[in-house]
Symmetry: D2
């Protein structure tokens, strides 16, 4: 079958033919329909320090996907052939099924343990392909109490834009979003943000305070990992509010605990991945109930063979979510 493969311990990805996997005991074989391209895939393509420390080529790349079950391994009773599904395949630090086995989603077929598989129940596979990263947005937003609240989303990459939509769906009274990129801000507007702040041009903290009668936001989701944005998150949250940290800063960031955290009496929560399987079920309920439509965040679709174009679009910096069309 066709697949995108990391062949060697060097930069680059290759579209090539590999052996089709089979469904072992307790597994299912899935014909991949759509697969999401993640920042992690860029690290793998570029073969940076993170990738060098974790991966053992050769392996098929890709971990966000949706498709259709085409075969059941022994002992799989609760799923059936023909069922559209997505799957949790990814755990932080490289301990994902794909990395351990070399069996990735940028391919015509992937085999997965049945217990990791989630039927789509009518959700289209384009959306199913982005449920892995969107799960992080659900986790970040729904572990705060946002109904009737002002929510400030710092950073409008794909997960930030999903978070805007989740906050609206969960009853946030007002959603404020910031980014340095006008195209990403437009995506946030499309997903329902009431107020947009261009962080390259506007005073972020002052704008949030103005929009909240001087009090600050009830909940801030920091999705960028940029040190200056982290400080903006602490400055823009109200006394007693909550800051959800999802963006990963590189290296140490100096924090004045007294004024940024303690005297404000705030709660800071580290958002790591998704809760298995709570977040997946919650997300499926929101999507099947039509509470939000994440498709505007998917700005590009490419065929499998054009993975280089997909990576280039991510590098250009103003894409939303990019997916590969496989079958």
């Amino acid at each position: 079958m066709q697949a995108i493969v990391k062949q060697q311990r060097a930069p680059g990805l290759e579209v090539t033919s590999v052996r089709k996997p089979a469904a072992g005991p307790g597994e299912v074989l899935i014909a991949v329909r759509h697969a999401g391209v993640c920042g992690t895939d860029l690290h793998i393509a570029d073969w940076d320090a993170w990738a060098q420390g974790r991966l053992k080529p050769p392996l098929v790349v890709g971990h966000e996907f949706a498709g259709e079950i085409v075969a059941l391994g022994d002992g799989v009773a609760e799923l059936k052939v023909g069922q559209p599904v997505t799957a949790e395949g990814h755990i932080v630090c490289g301990h994902c099924v794909q990395c351990r086995t070399g069996n990735g989603a940028f391919a015509e077929y992937i085999a997965m343990p049945a217990t990791n598989v989630l039927p789509l129940n009518g959700i289209p596979t384009t959306v199913g392909a982005v449920m892995d990263p969107m799960g992080n947005a659900f986790h970040a937003v729904l572990t705060a109490d946002v109904s009737g609240s002002t929510v400030f989303i710092v950073g409008c990459g794909p997960i930030g834009c999903f978070a805007v939509g989740v906050a609206r769906a969960a009853g946030a009274a007002r959603v404020i979003a910031s980014d340095v990129n006008p195209k990403r801000l437009e995506l946030a507007r499309t997903m329902g943000a009431h107020v947009l702040i261009n962080a390259a041009r506007d005073d972020v903290v002052r704008t949030v305070l103005e929009e909240t009668g001087g009090e600050g936001a009830d909940v801030v989701c920091e999705m960028s990992g940029i040190p200056s944005a982290l400080h903006q998150a602490f400055a823009a949250v109200r006394m007693g509010g909550r800051v959800q940290l999802l963006g990963i800063p590189k290296g140490a960031v100096p924090v004045d605990f007294a004024t940024e955290i303690i005297f404000k009496g705030i709660t800071v929560y580290g958002v790591i991945g998704r809760k298995m399987y709570d977040t997946w079920h919650q997300m499926r309920r929101y999507l099947t109930a039509g509470l939000l439509d994440p498709r505007p965040v998917i700005t590009h679709q490419f065929p499998l063979a054009q993975v280089d174009e997909a990576l280039a679009a991510i590098r250009a910096g103003d894409a939303g979510k990019i997916i590969l069309e496989i079958a």
Copy 2:
């Protein structure tokens, strides 16, 4: 000034002229613009056992209202003349300001302690006049976690219809509403209910189970106080779900605790009034953010002098909320 007065310990209300109140120390004088008519007012008009046990005529009737501040008593600093406001005036069991003082809202003017007064911040006085009963709906819905959940509202009187709107605003995935009255069900649909059940004709519990894949609703709000509806609430909630009880059954209702509550592992919560002042502030945020518009529930408006027509419309059984226009 003109006011609706309970003159004697006998049925009836009278539109008559009474002395205009003044703002004592710590109080404000409010020119009433709109006042909501409540089931309690019907009890007072009819002079039933409940009213006989609690009230000492003569008194001006009415406790749900909004208007404009026209005078400040001594020591009131945080409010100002001209400000549109509503107020919490009502506590369960007749311990309300109005009953204790004879100083009611069905009148051109009312004096209230400044600490009970809530500025409307742009909310129209028609809506301000119904914030007291709508507060019960906010309390009933927001003390459950409804975002992403299926919510079943049992009984579509005014508070039930408000609850439909609050549940939608707070991110409920699916709202089911039941009543025996088709007009009230239409109001529930207007407020955002996805599924309507005519309890006079349909099998209520079976319909809820069908709509929830056999599981039952995550949250049930019982707003009717009718014993059969109470049993439907327990039967329609899912294992481990939550039942909010707001409707007041008359007398004792036999309950099979084993099958209706304990073996289902559910939580039952008695919703009494509003939380002062949390609920009021929460409600004002939802309304000023435009998260819901309760005005479709207000089906009738009458001038003060037509209070009898207002009471007749309530008795007819298919009105939503009724308000009096005063100035």
Copy 3:
């Protein structure tokens, strides 16, 4: 091996020799050391309506136990031979491993799925044998917030007495316990109850109100299932408090929802079994940390052959927990 067997669809239990079970794939074989005798076992002995509707003799009786692993089935990696363990074997309504398979704990050996097994980590097997019913007490107490609170335990059977100890261990400021039986009240005192109420003689509700400055208890755990005690629970809880219902009333109990639940603004929670596996881990932490010692509640121990004496002691009504010694 020796075991206590329900041979026929008729009253009675028989101590007899049966075939020793084997550990199938994913199972472990456990040499039972101690087994708790439960009210359910009395129903089975008496062959009452409940037992007739659920059980298919012949079967080995008993579901509360602790012992030592003597053999591992295929695929069991996380446990080892010689390890002292207990196990969750019991789900409400007869859907327990023992009833489905006829493979019970009143026997020299029992086979259990490895996933149901909990290593004792130093807890003695006498205590391990009562962790199943004690889990209900943990679930009832720890799903309320009892630290610094007044807790009222209604009914001092074994689970009620365990609940007294759990409430003390979890930081309750004051524990009040009621029962009609002076011996059971003494057990409650031994487990740490500050105030004892003889419900056959004293005014239960008045005493609780006196002990709480007229306010009522913060948390009430109803462990008896007796209708009068249920009403005492609602009357003795404070405004806004919490009532945990574990005792199972027979048939319907008339409840005045207005005065007993709604106007008091209380929360009522149906306690069904234990949370798997949260409650088991929580309980093991309390026991290994020495936060409570449940052994005073174990008032009788009999050898396996004296099961009739054990049942007679339960019937006499003033036993605490009774266990069988097997090896």
Copy 4:
């Protein structure tokens, strides 16, 4: 009356005679019995930058105290002469009654608004005098869920030692405490700590991991404000655990958000002061129920005139809490 006064904008405190205050409208006059000496008082004595920026001498020093009501101002109905009381007088950042008015507790008499006053209900005034700082310990511990948990207290100054006692009283399974000072560690042991770590000598994080089977503590309370201890707090908490920050680091501390907070999925909470009046009532319940006895933490008592000795004892670094005896 005699009082300890900050006379001038320069180092030093003076024991001198000042005019006795009177109870204004809504206030009570309290004869001070015992007063706690706080680190803040040291800043005031030393006239450091913090003190220079906030205080306007002359003023009577002291904000932690207990005593007896000797006079009621106009309009005070709920309190009475002769009643032993303590009071919340202190808000972070110098916005305390004492600083604003110059009316402090290191004096024979103090006047306080009645709404700030808390009757002691039998708690001795030595304990009442330390309820202000002990309230911070209650707030830090009880905003986490410690029952059945392992709690690690970082820093055994007076508030850390109080926190050890509160954690035990609230049902913590295991309390670990660290400090560099052996005398303070002994105080922590007296208050109930199971494990003591001498941070000057032992490997703090490794010890906590060893004591918790490699998992880390469920809850960590950082009471020292020392940067190295802050990193120990993040390293010693388990995945998904909770860190309560009460100690105030000076200046910025570099934090690796990725490894210290986000990838661990922890919650960090800034503990600022006490919750008025929830914490006070909670604390009074624990104390009147005898759930903890904070008196071992009070290591020194001095008469008012020996305030310099009191300050010297704090400076020496191994005192617990120090109080002044006034009458």
